[in-house]
Subunit: 365 residues, 2 copies
DNA sequence: TTGTATGCGTTATCAT
DNA sequence: ATGATAACGCATACAA
């Protein structure tokens, strides 16, 4: 035992496990010693069990159990150049839509031993880029990211480091990226068409902020597409854009009803919360729904079918999109050719909050 | 240049970066070479910038930028025995309460360069244990976990590996674990007291499954505490336990109203969704709220104050709980003495869905 | 201030 | 089937 001041440089792998025993964390070497085999064998016993004789395998497992050994993921990642980590970036967890997306992705990855890193961009492209950098440092093997309105460097980095990724939630056929989700533009176009078919000609729109949000922009485009297809247009004063939530829905309807000029006979909302706000305000203003005014939302939250009048809206299976994205990435990791992405349908849920446009032109007063 | 079949064992650290250049991922050594310094200096330039001369620092940063170098977290973790990873385990993301918890925790950790691993137990203790094992393998430096109804091995493992943790969301003074959250028992006791003070004597309860859920159990205890304090008790047939959501709320009210025996004058629900279901069904059954029946929820979701009648409920700032938990753990990581935990208050939001008990004893029919 | 040398815990290659 | 041993990418005593 060295009593000199300078600790004698010990032979590399000699006394170290003894020293480490104090830390309470066993390492592979400890297991190997206890089982009376080499570290290589221990490693194989866990990673390629059939390459080791049953007797030894058993002995190793006992030793590992006795020492309460847990593999060190960092060491494993370094040696194998596989991290078994995936990443996902969403705008925010404060929206059930994205929470459910993560939930679906996470469940699939977890079943395959892949742990998920979660990043929130807070709708800020710069933060999204930062998060991707963090993920790359962490050695993610695959990524999902909501939307494509991100700095080009973001996708460049993913490409350079050869990390397979999918843009999730929204799908766009012309997108340069693989997408798994639904077509926001087409969805809102079809919703608008549905109302046009009911005789509506004057529309208002209550939307979340479109800035840095390709989904919202696509939705607006879809609405304009459908309107234009019938020679209609959205009046500037009929587009209300503001923070998501019931409060803004209420404010918007009040403003729409007080403003001079033609009143809309139908209001399209960016999500159900906004629509709930509109409906609530309509009740207070004594506006008959859908007699005087039709209101549609998006997402089909549980509440939508339970309120009175029940809300016409569209449903997207976000949990499923999350699952599909993970499965898609797993296939690529397993060496499959990259599939081109996948389009999921948004389903219209026609309910009592929409109806035929008023027979008389109620847009004048 | 070796033309023999056996590749000459190259001097350990010599030609490797050349070989790796093909992979497209630069390593510290490449940066060092380009900057004309040693790897140690590069490491310092990023981790202890003031320990390196400004000129060299600049040169190193340029080199790193030019090579597009990103530090490898696995290598860093291995060398420094710090992973800069924290973990959080929640029952499910499909509940906004937990999503918001994660959101708060994540934002604090992210600001300190700590990445968050997310695990969902799906209300299953076995899965929670598995998730913790995964986190430990990943080398998490700290953890938050919702609730304390977990296998003892779970907390033992955390303790053995010296990973600081907090039980979040629920707080219990007698808990052996550090907790940050609110006292479910006290909260429901006070809610019950509030209704007792309004003259209610016969209560019904509509709750989520109590199995493996200490929060729900505490809530039931709280209700029973308050009732017992006034010589009251909860009739077995007045306790409805089932899956969270409006549908079960509706079914429960129908059952309660059809069953023989005394009818409750007040219903306490485990969350706002259940309460919404009860309210909705009450409307269809023609039950006057709060004239005939008072209904209370829990969580205070945005919708609660917007429906008619507005829902009496309790609010807990889950995002803040998430933040506080992360801050608490950061303090411990920074060497502070482990604080004893922290109790957050659940605030009563009295609204129109509750009122004085009917003057006549309407519990008979 | 900078460089040298070694270790972190695991996997993988190559012998045996 | 098993063992030696060299990576993996970085951090850090220690020396200079």
């Amino acid at each position: 035992m060295p009593s000199s001041t300078k600790p004698t440089p010990p032979s590399p792998r000699a006394a170290q496990s003894r020293a480490r025993r104090g830390t309470g964390r066993a390492v592979l070497d400890d297991v190997a010693r206890l089982a009376g085999v080499s570290t290589a064998t221990v490693s194989r016993a866990f990673n390629e069990p059939d390459k080791v004789s049953p007797a030894v395998r058993e002995r190793v497992q006992q030793a590992a159990l006795a020492l309460d050994w847990l593999p060190n993921a960092a060491g494993r990642a370094l040696a194998s150049t596989r991290s078994h980590i995936a990443g996902t970036i969403i705008p925010t967890l404060d929206d059930q839509v994205f929470a459910s997306l993560v939930s679906g992705t996470q469940s699939v990855f977890a079943a395959r031993g892949i742990t998920l890193f979660l990043g929130c961009s807070n709708y800020d492209p710069a933060q999204a880029l930062t998060q991707v950098r963090v993920m790359l440092e962490r050695g993610v093997e695959a990524m999902t990211i909501v939307g494509e309105a991100h700095p080009p460097e973001l996708f460049e980095a993913l490409t350079r480091y050869r990390v397979p990724y999918v843009v999730v939630y929204s799908y766009r056929a012309e997108s340069p990226h693989p997408c798994i989700g639904f077509d926001n533009r087409a969805a809102f176009a079809s919703l608008t068409d549905y109302l046009i078919a009911q005789g509506h000609r004057t529309f208002a729109v209550v939307m979340q902020p479109a800035r840095d949000n390709d989904r919202v922009q696509a939705r607006l485009d879809g609405i304009r597409d459908a309107l234009a297809g019938h020679g209609l247009a959205l009046l500037p004063q009929h587009l209300h854009e503001g923070e998501s939530g019931m409060a803004f829905g209420r404010r918007s309807l009040r403003a729409l009803w007080q403003a001079p000029g033609p009143r809309p006979s139908a209001i399209l909302c960016g999500n159900d919360q906004l629509a709930f706000g509109v409906l609530r305000e309509a009740a207070e203003l004594g506006i008959d729904i859908p007699g005087q005014l039709s209101v549609a939302g998006f997402d089909d939250v549980a509440m939508a079918r339970e309120i009175t009048p029940a809300l016409t809206t569209m449903r997207v299976d976000t949990h499923e999109i999350g699952r599909l994205s993970a499965l898609h990435l797993l296939e690529i990791l397993d060496g499959a050719a990259a599939a081109p992405g996948r389009r999921v349908e948004a389903r219209l849920c026609p309910r009592a909050s929409t109806g035929p446009a008023p027979a008389m032109d109620s847009t004048r007063r």
